[in-house]
């Protein structure tokens, strides 16, 4: 029972954004199911997935919102930026246009999330190196200039997929440790899960910033 699906101490909220067809849903599927979904339909509005990961000995539940890339769903998808602790911004390395749109996605991400949101740039479909349209170096420079984490990944082979989700969680966790994230703030997309292990003995991972955990009033 101790290793059940409920035994975690944080919830981190992620949002996955990027042009349609770049492989956002496939990345999520690969991460949660460890499978590649070859003919994935376009996402309608938003989809949702979860998985528990371990970072620095802490069990963390990732609550991931996969948004539709199609423009017509913006009215729906933009409501999900609010309160994301991590934003995975995806482009397709074989389609330059998806890379060119990054700045607009980044603007959205910056405007609609909070300053502490960890933004991870993902160049997806790295398995299609032969059809590459965006070089690693170029994207890396873009990421560095904008203070983004960056990796190329493949939802098909699973290459680096695990890493992007976990690196993001590590970074968020580090922000918490450094005191950059106030767990009281609903918009951080981080929720402390009090005392997953039992009784009234609350586990307080960082001591000073977990006072809200029991009975704290706030939205999620």
């Amino acid at each position: 029972m101790a290793s059940g699906p409920y035994n975690y101490s944080y919830i981190f909220k992620y949002i996955i954004i990027g042009d349609m067809g770049v492989g956002k849903s496939c990345l999520l599927h690969q991460f949660t199911e460890k499978k590649f979904m070859a003919d994935c339909p376009h996402t309608i509005g938003v989809e949702f997935g979860t998985r528990i990961v371990e970072v620095s000995g802490q069990k963390i539940k990732l609550q991931i919102w996969d948004t539709a890339g199609q423009e017509r769903f913006r009215a729906v998808t933009r409501s999900y930026y609010r309160g994301a602790a991590g934003a995975l911004m995806v482009y397709d390395i074989t389609r330059r246009s998806t890379y060119n749109h990054l700045s607009s996605w980044l603007t959205d991400a910056r405007n609609l999330t909070n300053p502490n949101t960890v933004i991870f740039l993902i160049g997806n479909k790295s398995d299609l190196d032969g059809q590459r349209d965006v070089t690693y170096e170029e994207a890396k420079t873009f990421a560095d200039e904008n203070g983004l984490l960056f990796l190329e990944a493949s939802a098909k082979t699973g290459d680096n997929v695990e890493d992007v989700f976990i690196e993001t969680a590590k970074k968020i966790y580090q922000n918490i440790q450094d005191g950059n994230v106030d767990l009281n703030a609903a918009d951080t997309g981080v929720q402390l899960k009090p005392s997953a292990s039992g009784g009234s003995g609350d586990r307080k991972p960082t001591g000073n910033q977990s006072s809200q955990q029991s009975g704290g009033k706030g939205c999620c």
């Binding site: 029972m1 009215a75 409501s79 703030a185 609903a186």
Partner: protein, 634 residues
């Protein structure tokens, strides 16, 4: 006496020297005797020596007297001794008598004792038997003791266990006691199949009681735990989960706990929602800040709820370990119930202040999108779904009324067509509204049927009044002008609507209307052409009956001239109104079909005249054969 004789014999050797000459006669008995005496070695005869010593006392001096009296002395002495001896024996005899008496009494004592012993022994035998029996019984009891011990250990609770059931903190111990109680209860069923039914039933009854007690405690604890789950992220422990699992075997208690949980979560969700709307915790912007943008505002509210529902769902499935979808949906439906009111209030508020049909349509679509998403999560019957359906309905109603209002407002004043027969400016305005409405449909994910139905309604709402308006404003025009003007208007509408999916029906209708007006144009044009070559009357007469001479006469006179004129530049023969068609495609099409119509008419007239006057005279009247005309004007 023997002693005396001996003494006498021994006395002889005491004088050996006196008889030493005796050796000479061996065969003499005396000598033999003497020999024998002489041979006797005194050293070896101690007794004799001793006797002699004693005798010497009797004979203080070896006098004759003494020797003569020796015997009597000895006898006297013997007598004395015997007397002494007798006396002694007498006392001895008395003593012996005493002793005998003692022995007698001892013997009777012993006899007594023996009797008593025998008695006791007889008695003890019974005791021993009894003891052995008792011992055996003891062993049996001991055995039973062990069995009972085991029995108790197995089928009874220890005082500690009873204590745990009765009070103290809820913890692992309580669960293990509960499990024990249950297993005891179960084990007792075995007893029921034996001769020990009564005890079995008793224990079962007792265990049932304990179980109730335990569950009662667990229930109170769990319920109070559930009641406190009002934080935005409820704390739930393994213990609570375990308790709930345990309580599942008491459906009513379980249900009460679930109810308590739902109640707590419901208020937590509402509180969280209100906070997100009004305060937007620490640095986050309150959702109400975007209320100036109604579509975004409703979207953000519903998006927040969507995420909250997902979290609640997660929490429920973790806490209750219930997989049944409907069960979870029902819980979620109940938890989200409270959010309906604040949502409704706010959406209605912005809705009523919105007169722009585009905005209200965007709102309709957002609400419809979430309606689809939420129905899957909460089920059709959830109160929140009800609220959202009401909202969607209200929004739809308001949208259509604002669309109607806007349309009719624009079309209030009839604008007369300009000389170029262009569609009126107001038409463009309405179309731009329609266009924005149709474009914003793209965000909705309502079911296709729903969408088609509402689209049909939207188009109807806009298109019919527009067409009506065009007809009104065209009322002062000639047939030709009217046809051209209406085609231009319809065409504008058509080309706008054609940009969107699922508008086929409306387009078909528009097409039909356009074709009708085109037919008018074509007929007019063909008639105009026939008129140009002077055959219109002939043609018209031909439609109703026979060609007469009166009809043929003018043909005779003018047709040759007219035809020469006409066929020298047939392109100028287009009706001027036809050039005002904004669609070049329709223009060409109308021309093409008018020519065709004209050619058909020409052939009819030509054939009729040919029949009437004969082939030879025909060239005077109609110099061009239909084939030639065809070549000339196409």
């Amino acid at each position: 006496m023997a002693d005396g004789s001996k003494d006498k014999e021994e006395k002889q050797p005491a004088n050996p020297s006196s008889s030493s000459i005796g050796n000479l006669s061996q065969n003499n008995p005396l000598s033999r005797k003497l020999n024998r005496i002489l041979e006797t070695r005194l050293e070896d005869e101690r007794d004799t020596i001793e006797s002699l010593k004693v005798l010497s006392e009797f004979l203080p001096a070896n006098t004759l007297h003494a020797r003569r009296n020796l015997r009597s002395d000895i006898e006297r002495r013997g007598l004395i001794l015997s007397e002494e001896f007798r006396d002694l024996l007498g006392s001895l005899a008395a003593q012996i008598q005493d002793m005998q008496n003692d022995v007698h009494s001892m013997r009777s004592c012993c006899q007594d004792m023996q009797n008593r012993l025998a008695d006791t022994k007889a008695k003890t035998a019974g005791l021993l038997n009894e003891t052995a029996e008792l011992k055996a019984r003891g062993r049996r009891l001991e055995m039973r003791g062990v069995v009972i011990d085991v029995f108790l250990k197995k089928l009874q609770l220890t005082p500690e266990e009873v204590g745990i059931l009765a009070g103290g903190v809820v913890g692992e111990e309580l669960f293990s006691v509960l499990h024990r109680v249950k297993s005891i209860h179960e084990d007792c069923k075995v007893l029921l199949r034996t001769s020990q039914q009564r005890i079995g039933l008793e224990i079962m009854e007792k265990m049932a009681m304990h179980l109730e007690e335990g569950y009662e405690r667990l229930y109170h604890w769990t319920q109070s735990q559930c009641r406190t789950m009002t934080s935005d992220l409820p704390s739930s422990s393994l213990l609570l989960r375990k308790s709930l699992q345990e309580l599942k075997s008491r459906p009513i208690l379980y249900k009460y706990c679930v109810d308590e949980y739902v109640l707590a979560r419901r208020s937590a969700l509402v509180q969280g929602f209100i906070d997100a709307l009004t305060k937007g915790n620490n640095g986050s912007r309150p959702i109400e800040l975007v209320s100036h943008d109604p579509a975004r505002y409703s979207g953000d509210m519903l998006g927040w709820l969507h995420q909250a529902i997902a979290t609640e769902k997660d929490h429920i499935s973790g806490l209750f370990a219930e997989d049944e979808r409907e069960w979870v949906s029902n819980l979620l439906a109940s938890i989200t119930e409270g959010a309906g009111r604040p949502l409704k209030m706010r959406v209605e508020q912005v809705l009523l202040s919105t007169s722009d049909p585009v905005t209200s349509y965007q709102m309709v679509n957002v609400v419809r999108y979430y309606l689809g998403v939420f129905v899957i999560l909460l089920g059709e019957t959830a109160p929140l779904i009800g609220v959202m359906k009401e909202l969607a309905e209200l929004q739809t109603k308001l949208f259509f009324s604002s669309l109607t209002v806007q349309t009719s407002k624009l079309l209030e004043e009839i604008e007369l067509p300009d000389s170029q027969l262009n569609p009126p400016r107001k038409l463009m305005e309405i179309l731009s509204v329609l266009q924005r409405v149709l474009a914003s449909r793209d965000i909705s994910v309502a079911s296709l049927d729903d969408h088609k139905t509402s689209l049909k309604q939207i188009l109807q709402t806009c298109i019919d009044p527009m067409i009506h308006y065009c007809n009104e404003s065209a009322s002062t025009l000639s047939t030709m002008e009217m046809a051209v003007y209406l085609i231009n208007c319809l065409y504008l509408i058509h080309s706008n609507v054609a940009l969107y999916e699922f508008t086929e029906l409306a387009l078909e209708k528009l097409d039909g209307q356009i074709q009708a007006h085109l037919d008018t144009l074509i007929t007019e044009q063909a008639a105009y052409l026939l008129g140009k070559i002077g055959l219109l009357d002939s043609y018209n007469t031909l439609q109703t009956g026979e060609l007469t001479d009166e009809v043929l006469a003018p043909v005779h006179e003018q047709s040759k001239k007219l035809m020469t004129q006409f066929f020298s530049s047939p392109e100028s023969s287009l009706l001027p109104q036809l050039t005002l068609l904004t669609s070049s495609k329709f223009k060409a099409d109308a021309h093409q079909r008018a020519v065709q119509l004209f050619l058909n008419a020409y052939r009819q007239v030509y054939d009729a005249i040919k029949d009437k006057i004969g082939e030879d005279k025909l060239s005077n009247v109609l110099p061009h054969s239909p084939e030639q005309v065809n070549d000339l004007i196409t």
